[in-house]
Amino acid sequence: MSATELLIELTLMPLVAFVVGMMMVLMMRRIAAKLQRRVGPPFFQPLYDIVKLHSKRTQVSHGLIHDIGIVMAMGGYIAAETLLPVPGMNGIAEKGGIITLLYLMMIPSLGLALGVGQCANPNGSIGIARALTAMLAYDIPLVIVVFGVAYAAGTTNLIDIIATQQAGGFETWGVTQMPLLAIAGLIAMHASLGKQPFEIYIAPAEIATGPMVEMGGKYLGGLFVMQCFQLYTTAVLYVSLFLGGGTTWFDFLLKSFLVLAIPMSIAYLFPRYRTEDLLRLMWKWPVMLGLIGIAFVI
Amino acid sequence: MSKQITHWLDDLLAEIEGIVVRRKSSRRVRVDVPADALPALLELLQGRAGYIHLSAISCVDWIKEDEFELVYHVWSYESHSLVSAHIRIAREPGVYLSVYDLYQPAAFFERDIHEMYGIHFEGSPNMEKFILTEWDGPPPMRKEFDSEAYINEHLSWQEYNPEWLQELVAEGGGVIIPPEEQRFSQKKK
């Protein structure tokens, strides 16, 4: 692969991720609307929101770290997109591998923590403390799941993992080979999205949307963009690990949207847990399922 | 409630000196007592007659008589009746005893009366302002406080005089006559 091609891929992959991510946000809001018996937002609503937020005249900054935090939150995911192979584009997935991806996916939370810490708003501080706790909660099952998949495939390279799954059709998919790990992964993925019942760090009625409380204008716009990337990354990672990635764009997108629809449909039927309940749940069931799954794999 | 209970209550109330009991209905008793006998009355009602629920403390400003009337409404969950104990205190200096040690809900009502009427209750746990924290005028519920004068001094209204209203006025309508001037002949039933 020539340097130009690589450069084009590295530009295209986050862009595609952004566009798909916006549609995922739209899907999320439409699902919520359907469950709540209403119409829901128009098709381009996520785009309107993002453009509007970036075009606000007032951009209240709380200092350098605040700016850097948002950049980190977006940048972490943008970097992660280049490590996620999509049909026709592999980016630098070969060189990065799944461990790097996991690290990159943690950066946004840390960036947010830095940025929110600078705002000195107690609601934000509580929110970010909860967000980091939640990260601690869902990362353990996530790491177990990723380890199990990597062990089964014998590699940490996502391209190889996808290739082994695609070799024998549906029977070699991760979800049929390692159903327990797939379930654990789904729960961990749901938690990492921060939707009910794991919505502890947004929690409007408790801490006034936590980390976002001091964000306005571009900063909030950055977080909206981050949400698009987050949905995309989580869904595509799951598809790559368990659903055999995608051979064509059509089945790739279909799988990603379907996989995302599961936690989204559950989310709007539940209230949120308390922090310790979340920890207890995440360290109990997904970890247990994951460990049993690993035992099967080994 | 049965006559037995009412008699029993009357006997009990007779222990207080200077008391006037009026039975308004089967469930409402009005009691007038001198101001210094009220704590004893409430203690009696709460301790021996089961009137454990303080429903409200109302304050009435009788400016002509230069007195405040305080009304303690207590309810019994057992005999299902309500006793309203009326007392009168002098408008100046407007100080009275708190009944917080008997009835905890009194804290809110006393605080409320304090800021609305300026009556100070001795022994109440909290006499800070609650509703009117950012108000520096006189206690507004006193009868001498003229809220319209206050408004005219501090606030202004939107002028609204569109053409259609002016036309109406020119035709002799559209103006609201103050109710005091609008005396119709009383309809016979």
Partner: protein, 380 residues
């Protein structure tokens, strides 16, 4: 793009900090504030701060005619305005010795109970929203709207009906109205299993709401708690039954109670009460066609109406608890004094302060919404 004065405010490093919970906070019902001192996320001290909705109702009422006040009173409690009208009308009737016709009493009961249904749907919608379950709120508020449609049809007002006037009610029911009432009730009843599955039996919600804001029966009695919140501690007391007004002594209904006295019990009591209200309205719908007669007693010219001197204390069970009006007349065209004892004046101030202490920050909103504290009643 950076205005100059936005330096972050730094507080000295400490585990304890103070937080303004409200007035602009989604976890607060209405415009109200709690100042809380936190250690981590445990509340050490809570202080209610009201007055944001203060309009000086009691002063305003002294300046208006007896009949004008009817338009004023429902505004005291926004989610459940009908008991306010009734309580005031009853007070004026008692002062004048007006005898209200039977038919008006039955219609009033229907209005009150429909209002209670609407208020309860709104309240547990709100309680659900504080725990993050917005679907229940969306459903609850939408179903409440159907009741409001009924209100609009027979009173003319969607929220503030201004329908009870001293002496009776203002208008006769429209034709075919009772049929539509029972249709709406059927619909709401058919929705209740959905609410049960989504909300009341939802294990995550039960886990969240149990053991939140617990008060024992002794505490509740000492703090002056009334209404559903008192019944959630196990005491079956209801003004409608134990101090009956209107025609409640002729109606059949039960008083649901729960033992545990926590947020969950309070919400559950409301849910059962909703069923009882539906039952009462059904009885009214059945009985109303056979009750004929006028809908209001004749009153003198309301613009020159001097109510005889006297004082009276009326009590009504609103959806939030015991609602009382103390009305004094000096024989003039305007009330001499009207004192409104809203049930929330206890719940939102002392009870909320006491229940918040020791709870966690995420439970303050739940405590407030499960107490169904209505700030405009406190501030008046």
């Amino acid at each position: 793009m950076r205005p100059e004065n936005y330096e972050a405010q730094r507080q000295p490093p400490s585990n304890e900090f103070e937080l303004n919970f409200g007035p602009n906070h989604p976890g607060i019902e209405g415009n109200y504030a709690l100042k809380v001192k936190l250690h981590g996320d445990v509340v050490l001290e809570a202080q209610a701060d009201g007055g944001y909705l203060h309009r000086g109702f009691e002063k305003l009422m002294e300046q208006r005619l007896w009949i004008q006040n009817i338009a004023l009173v429902p505004r005291i409690c926004v989610p459940d305005p009908s008991p306010m009208e009734l309580c005031y009308s009853m007070a004026v009737e008692q002062l004048c010795g007006l005898h209200v016709p039977q038919r008006a009493n039955w219609i009033r009961v229907m209005q009150l109970e429909l209002s209670r249904i609407a208020a309860h749907l709104f309240t547990f919608g709100g309680h659900a929203a504080t725990t993050g379950m917005y679907s229940t709120m969306y459903w609850g508020v939408a179903d409440r709207d159907l009741v409001l449609d009924l209100f609009e049809e027979f009173t003319g007002g969607r929220v503030y009906s201004i329908y009870n006037i001293p002496g009776g009610v203002r208008r006769e029911l429209p034709s075919g109205f009772l049929q539509r009432v029972s249709e709406t009730l059927d619909y709401i009843e058919s929705r209740l299993p959905d609410y049960d599955n989504l909300f009341f039996k939802n294990q995550v919600f039960v886990k969240r709401a149990k053991d939140v804001g617990v008060m024992t029966q002794e505490q509740a009695l000492a703090w002056g708690v009334t209404g559903p919140n008192l019944r959630a501690t196990g005491l079956a007391f209801d003004v409608r039954r134990d101090d009956p007004y209107l025609i409640y002594d002729q109606l059949e209904f039960e008083i649901p109670t729960e033992e545990s006295g926590d947020a969950w019990a309070r919400t559950l009591v409301r849910r059962h009460e909703l069923m009882e209200s539906i039952r009462i309205v059904r009885q009214v719908v059945e009985a109303l066609p056979d009750i004929h007669g006028p809908i209001r007693a004749p009153i003198p010219n309301p613009l020159a109406w001097n109510v005889p001197a006297g004082e009276t204390y009326t009590r009504v069970e609103s959806s939030k608890g015991e609602l009382c009006y103390y009305v004094v007349s000096d024989g003039g065209p305007k009330p001499y004094r009207v004192h409104v004892r809203g049930p929330s004046s206890m719940h939102a101030v002392q009870v909320l302060e006491k229940l918040s202490v020791g709870s966690r920050i995420e439970d303050i909103a739940q405590t407030m919404f499960s107490l169904d504290a209505c700030p405009p009643e406190v501030d008046r």
